[in-house]
Every structure is written in structure tokens, then in C-alpha cells.
């Protein structure tokens, strides 16, 4: 009986003109999303290689390693980033690493091509998020009340069918009827990857598979929700309207509103506020330094006037140099510590705000799907944090490299200045291939999967809740 109802549902949906049209549109959009994603990746890689080469070229004519005191690094494009873009276009693509300051990220895709910021890209996440949810609603909004309106529900239940079997067969059949055909354009899209020269690593294949699973779970959420609502209402027009309102809230309102609510509840200090505070400290330090400098020079000149012996004066000069250096280092360190502390505080507050926004947004299945898919593609906010960490680690290794090459600490501008101004200069060009290369690598698979697990679990939970709702509402449904 279950199989009979399942097959009927499959045939009824797949045989309809409505299905042919919507399936056609979905297929085109999915294949287009794959195609444009691949093209974006290829363009991104070309730009990346060109920018990387240009960044190294500026040091090609240098003869002193001391001049290589800053490096421009670039976010390495990844195929999954192009298919499921997340924040990758909003996030900058480059940073300057100098071994001392924390690298800032600049130059986002959207700042380069603002038109895309207006309408955004057509990526897989968008197609799944918007089109698949509508697809599910369109086919299941009248799953129960529509059958009642057509009289087929009554005619079916003239026979000795348990209600549970009927609703199970109906939901499973509807899900398979929508999900299985959708796998065709997805498979075509996946085939395009190797055909267009994109090689995915084993980890990326696994992440892509998990993304598709999440997409199907998301489809299941809207399907079971539609059946649930259909079982709560007597007229299909009412359920359609109701589902449309839910869709608008889930897809458009809740994710945006959660950010606004969290923004109002937790205020994050702006970067400008931090800069002003650091500047104030700097001004205060300058006033304090002035006093100290006066004292140092007074002592120095007093010592010189007491003893005019050249050896003693050299000793005094060295002493003064050391004192100046110590003062400058302490001042810089204090300022940097202060700035780092403020930035750290800002980051913590921001992290709290993000957590709150995501927490609120998780009442929307669309937001949950979005969070899961961007985590799997490596384009969630984690991309920013992971890039930052990787860039900081690289900055530190760059400082070591600099020390190795120059014998100076990159954080010691005075010595560097002295070294740069030394009279004996090397005539041999530096070998830029020795400069360490920055390659962004996504977090480990286990970390990504662990991160995506809670949202995947919530999607499963949504499915379970709406399925249970559909089941219970149908068990109590008035068949007359």
C-alpha cells in the first residue's frame, strides 16, 4: 500500500506540466550556477596569479633584504567558494603583512565590481535557498486539502488504508519526486567541474556532497512544512497564502531582522573609535616622551661637558642610543598592546553579536541552510577569522624570514633605518623566489564538518518537527 501511494505521488508530480516547467527552470538555474561558479573561479585564479606575481615584481630590483619589509598576500580562490559564495565577495582579497601589525583585509570583489553587490551573484546557495523552497511549496501546498477539494482524498479513504501509511507514502513520494529529478542537473553541474578543468580535492568532494545533502534536507523542510500547513487548512488557496507568508519571513525577513536585532542589542565599537583611542594614547605618549627626551639629552650633554674624552663621549652616545631605542620600543609596544587589546575586545563583542544574530536567525530554516552551506563551502564568517589567523601566522613566519635575512628584528624600525642608510650597499639582486609564499588553505575537513554539524542537525530537526506536524494534522484531518 505504501509503495502504491508513493508511486502514485511520483507519477502524479512528475507527469504534471507544472513539474515540467519548474523542473526545467530549476535545472537551468542549477547548471548555470555551476557554470558561472566555475568561470568565476577561473577568472579569480587568473587574477590571483597575476596579483601575486605583481606583488613580487616590486622587489625584483632590490639588492637589500631590509627593503623587503612588507608583503602583499592574497586570498587563494577555491572552487567551492565560487559555487557557494557566502561572504567571499564581501571579504577583502588581499592584505599587507609586515611582521608586526595584525594584517587588515582590503579590496573585496564587491568594491571592485559594485554592480554585483546590488544584485548579488547567482550561486548554488541562492538557487537552493530561494528556488528549491518555492519549488517544494508549489508542489506540496495542496498535498492534503487539494486532494480533498478534488475529491480524491474521500475516494481514497473509501478503501481500507491506514492514514499513517497514506501520509507516509505521500510525503516520501513527494520528496522523491522533487529530489530525484533535481539530482540530475546537480550531477550535470558536478560533471562540468572536471570537464572545465576544475580539480577538487577529496575533502572538497566530501564538502560538496554534504552541501547537496543539506540542500535536500532544506527541500524536505519546506516540503513537510507545506504538507503540515495543507493538513491544517481546509482550502488550498489558504495554505498557499499562508506558506507564502512563511516563505517571505524565512527567506527574506528573519535573516535580516536577526542582524538588526543583534546589532541593537550588542553595540560593536567602530574601527574609527579604536583608532581615535590609539591616537589619543599616542599624543599622550608624545607629551611624556618629550619630557623623557629632554631629560636624556640633558644627562647626555652634562656627561659630555664633564668628560670630553672621545672614548667616553662614544660611550655616552651609545648609552643615549640605547636609551632612545628602549624608550621607542617601550612606547611602540605599549601602543600596540593597547591597540591589540581594543581590537581584541572589539572582536569579542563582534563575535557575541554574530552569535546572537545567528542564534536568532536559526528560527528560519533558510538561515540555517545558509549557515550550514557557507560553513561547508568555507565562505562563512569563519573564512574571515581563519584567513586572519593564517595571515597572522604567515606574518610571524615572515618576521622570522626577515630576521634570518637581515639579522634585524622586523619590529625594530630604528635599526632597520640605520641598516637601510648604511654606506656599503650590496650590488647583488635579491632572489625573490626565496620570499615565503602565502597560500590560504581552508580549515581541515573534520573542523568544517564539526562546524556544520549543529546546523545540519537543526535542518534534520526542522524536518522531524514538520513531518510530525504533517503526520498529526493528517491523522486528525476531516476527510469529508
Amino acid at each position: 500500500m505504501f509503495k502504491l501511494i508513493l508511486y502514485k505521488e511520483l507519477r502524479e508530480i512528475i507527469g504534471s506540466t507544472k513539474f515540467a516547467v519548474t523542473f526545467g527552470i530549476c535545472s537551468i538555474l542549477i547548471i548555470l550556477a555551476f557554470f558561472s561558479g566555475i568561470k568565476n573561479y577561473q577568472t579569480g585564479m587568473e587574477e590571483y596569479e597575476a596579483s601575486k606575481a605583481a606583488a613580487l615584481r616590486q622587489y625584483e630590483k632590490e639588492t637589500e633584504w631590509t627593503k623587503v619589509n612588507s608583503l602583499q598576500i592574497f586570498l587563494t580562490p577555491e572552487p567551492l567558494m565560487s559555487l557557494i559564495m557566502g561572504i567571499s565577495n564581501d571579504l577583502g582579497r588581499t592584505s599587507y603583512v609586515n611582521g608586526r601589525n595584525k594584517p587588515e583585509i582590503y579590496d573585496s570583489n564587491y568594491s571592485q565590481q559594485p554592480v554585483f553587490a546590488v544584485f548579488r551573484y547567482l550561486d548554488l546557495e541562492f538557487v537552493f535557498q530561494v528556488v528549491l523552497s518555492l519549488f517544494a511549496i508549489l508542489f506540496a501546498f495542496d498535498a492534503i486539502n487539494g486532494e480533498k477539494e478534488r475529491g480524491t482524498l474521500r475516494l481514497s479513504f473509501v478503501n481500507s488504508i491506514p492514514r499513517a501509511t497514506y501520509i507516509l507514502g505521500k510525503i516520501t513520494g513527494s520528496f522523491l519526486a522533487l529530489a530525484l529529478p533535481l539530482l540530475i542537473p546537480i550531477l550535470i553541474g558536478i560533471l562540468l567541474l572536471p570537464l572545465m578543468g576544475i580539480v577538487l580535492s577529496a575533502d572538497e568532494w566530501i564538502r560538496l556532497t554534504f552541501f547537496i545533502v543539506c540542500g535536500l534536507l532544506y527541500l524536505g523542510v519546506f516540503l513537510t512544512l507545506s504538507v503540515f500547513v495543507s493538513g491544517l487548512t481546509q482550502r488550498s488557496s489558504s495554505s498557499f497564502l499562508f506558506l507564502l507568508v512563511i516563505w517571505v519571513f524565512s527567506v527574506l525577513i528573519v535573516p535580516r531582522a536577526s542582524v538588526i536585532i543583534a546589532g541593537n542589542m550588542i553595540e560593536v565599537p567602530s574601527k574609527e573609535e579604536i583608532s581615535i583611542k590609539v591616537m589619543k594614547l599616542q599624543q599622550q605618549q608624545s607629551i611624556e616622551s618629550e619630557q623623557k627626551l629632554k631629560e636624556l639629552y640633558r644627562n647626555y650633554f652634562q656627561a659630555l661637558s664633564k668628560n670630553s674624552d672621545p672614548e667616553a663621549s662614544a660611550r655616552e652616545e651609545k648609552k643615549l642610543q640605547e636609551s632612545l631605542e628602549k624608550m621607542l620600543t617601550e612606547r611602540t609596544k605599549k601602543r600596540e598592546d593597547f591597540s591589540s587589546r581594543l581590537k581584541e575586545e572589539r572582536r569579542n563583542i563582534q563575535s557575541g553579536q554574530e552569535k546572537l544574530a545567528f542564534g536568532i536567525s536559526r528560527i528560519s530554516p533558510t538561515a540555517v541552510f545558509s549557515l550550514a552551506s557557507t560553513t561547508l563551502s568555507g565562505t562563512s564568517l569563519e573564512l574571515r577569522d581563519h584567513y586572519q589567523k593564517t595571515a597572522e601566522a604567515f606574518s610571524s613566519s615572515f618576521a622570522d624570514f626577515y630576521f634570518e635575512k637581515t639579522g634585524f628584528n622586523i619590529g625594530n624600525p630604528l635599526k632597520i633605518m640605520l641598516a637601510m642608510n648604511k654606506k656599503e650597499k650590496s650590488i647583488t639582486l635579491i632572489d625573490t623566489s626565496e620570499i615565503p609564499e602565502f597560500v590560504y588553505q581552508a580549515p581541515e575537513l573534520s573542523f568544517i564538518l564539526k562546524d556544520a554539524l549543529p546546523d545540519t542537525a537543526i535542518l534534520i530537526l526542522f524536518n522531524f518537527i514538520f513531518f510530525a506536524g504533517a503526520f498529526v494534522s493528517f491523522m486528525r484531518y476531516d476527510l469529508r
Partner: protein, 249 residues
């Protein structure tokens, strides 16, 4: 089938239904329909005809009393009782994207009949008067009469001892109505017990063995075909309806 072989198939025993809002839809209705018998229920809208059918189909549970099919109490053993019932609604819609044969195949299997072949479906569709060229066409383009024929074919395929018909001739043209009467006649001769709700007094008198008139949830009159020959059903019907009108006034 002889008179002695006849047995009660459909039976309403003091069947009462009061809805949650307090409306008494059916008030101690009792009747019995033997095999090879047609019982026509006449009555205005809201008289309780469809409620009676719904109680036999267990779409609602009785407040008191029992509806029995072949001795099985419908609200106690609904799945078992439904095996004994076939049903044709007033407006058969079926699955519009399926052909007539596909609809028959689905509903026959749903009724537990898995042994039928395409030839069986074709035969039964021809029997109910649906032309062969329509058998494989989607129901989308079917007229009400054609869909009604498919509904009857489904009921025939189920081969249940009892058939419930809810306003089956409403909207049918005279020719289709006549063909329908002949078909019912045939089903009766095959031993089926048929309960038919209708507004069509003349069709009821023509085909039914027993006619009952329902008014405000009560079976106010019940008469055999033999008795009806001496009475004017139309007059009786109007009399009871007029009574209803007076009550309402």
C-alpha cells in the same frame, strides 16, 4: 438470487449524529438494505443524506447508534468495513494527470484488487459507457459525465457487496442518466446492495426498490417500490418538504 437468499448488507440502527456545535444532523435513523436492493434517499440539502453516507464510510463517528456493513460496525472496525464498500461521489474528479486506465489501476489496487489487467480496465470502462478512445487520455479534458463513468467503473472494480452513491446523477444529461439507471439495474442483479442519495425523484422511483425521504436529520418516510406504485412520490415528497417548510416558519 432468490428472495430467501437475500441478506441485509447495509444497515442503519438508530443512527444519530450531533456535531460539536450542537447541530443534530441525524436523529435515530434506521433502515436496512438487502443484497440486490437499491435504497434511494431523497431530501433537501442538509436533510442528512450525506451525513448518513459519511457515517457508513466512517468519515465521522456516530453520536449513538450504529452503521453496519455486512454486519460489521463501521466505526468499530472501519478498515474491515471499508473492504465491503464502494463509493461514487456527486462530482468525481480523480487524478487529472492520469488517464482513465491509470486512475482505475490506482484505485483498484488501493481497494486491494491487484489481479486486474489492462483488458479488465478496458472492459469495465466500456461497460460503463466510456468510449475506447478516451481510455488512455488524461482526465483533464473529461466532461463531468465521463468522469462520473470512471467513478462508477472504480466502484465496480472494487467488487464490494455495498455501493454508496452520493447524488450520482446530478449534472448528467438525460442520456447519461438513463445509462446510469441501466447500470444500477445490472449491479443490483449482480447482488449489490446500493444506497443512493438523490434529489431526482423520478430516477429514484424508476430504479429504487425502497425510497426514503429525509427531513431535518430524520427518515420521515420509507416506502417499498410496490407501495409507491399506488402513491405519488412527488406529492409525498412535497408534502414532507412542505411540512419542513412549515416547521421552519
Amino acid at each position: 438470487m432468490t428472495e430467501t437468499e437475500k441478506s441485509v448488507v447495509l444497515e442503519a440502527d438508530k443512527l444519530t449524529k450531533r456535531y460539536e456545535d450542537g447541530v443534530l444532523a441525524l436523529d435515530e435513523v434506521s433502515f436496512a438494505i438487502n443484497s440486490s436492493e437499491i435504497f434511494a434517499m431523497l431530501g433537501a440539502n442538509g436533510a442528512g443524506k450525506t451525513t448518513t453516507i459519511n457515517l457508513f464510510l466512517n468519515f465521522i463517528e456516530p453520536t449513538s447508534g450504529e452503521a453496519r456493513v455486512s454486519g460489521i460496525v463501521t466505526h468499530k472496525e472501519p478498515l474491515l468495513a471499508k473492504e465491503k464498500i464502494a463509493y461514487v461521489s456527486e462530482n468525481v474528479m480523480l487524478y487529472q494527470n492520469f488517464s482513465a486506465i491509470q486512475n482505475l489501476d490506482y484505485f483498484a489496487k488501493l481497494g486491494g484488487k491487484k489481479e486486474y489487467s489492462r483488458d479488465d480496465y478496458r472492459d469495465v470502462l466500456l461497460r460503463v459507457g466510456l468510449q475506447e478512445e478516451a481510455h488512455n487520455k488524461r482526465l483533464k479534458g473529461f466532461s463531468k459525465g465521463m468522469r462520473q463513468k470512471c467513478g462508477i467503473a472504480i466502484a465496480i472494480l472494487k467488487d464490494a457487496p455495498a455501493i454508496l452513491l452520493d447524488e450520482p446523477t446530478s449534472g448528467l444529461d438525460p442520456k447519461a442518466g438513463y445509462e446510469f439507471s441501466r447500470l444500477l439495474d445490472k449491479l443490483r442483479s449482480e447482488g449489490k446492495s446500493i444506497l443512493m442519495s438523490t434529489h431526482d425523484i423520478f430516477r429514484a422511483r424508476e430504479i429504487a426498490d425502497t425510497v426514503g425521504i429525509m427531513n431535518q436529520g430524520k427518515l420521515v418516510m420509507q416506502a417499498d417500490k410496490d407501495e409507491l406504485s399506488d402513491k405519488d412520490l412527488e406529492q409525498l415528497y412535497m408534502k414532507y418538504m412542505a411540512g419542513y417548510m412549515e416547521d421552519a416558519a
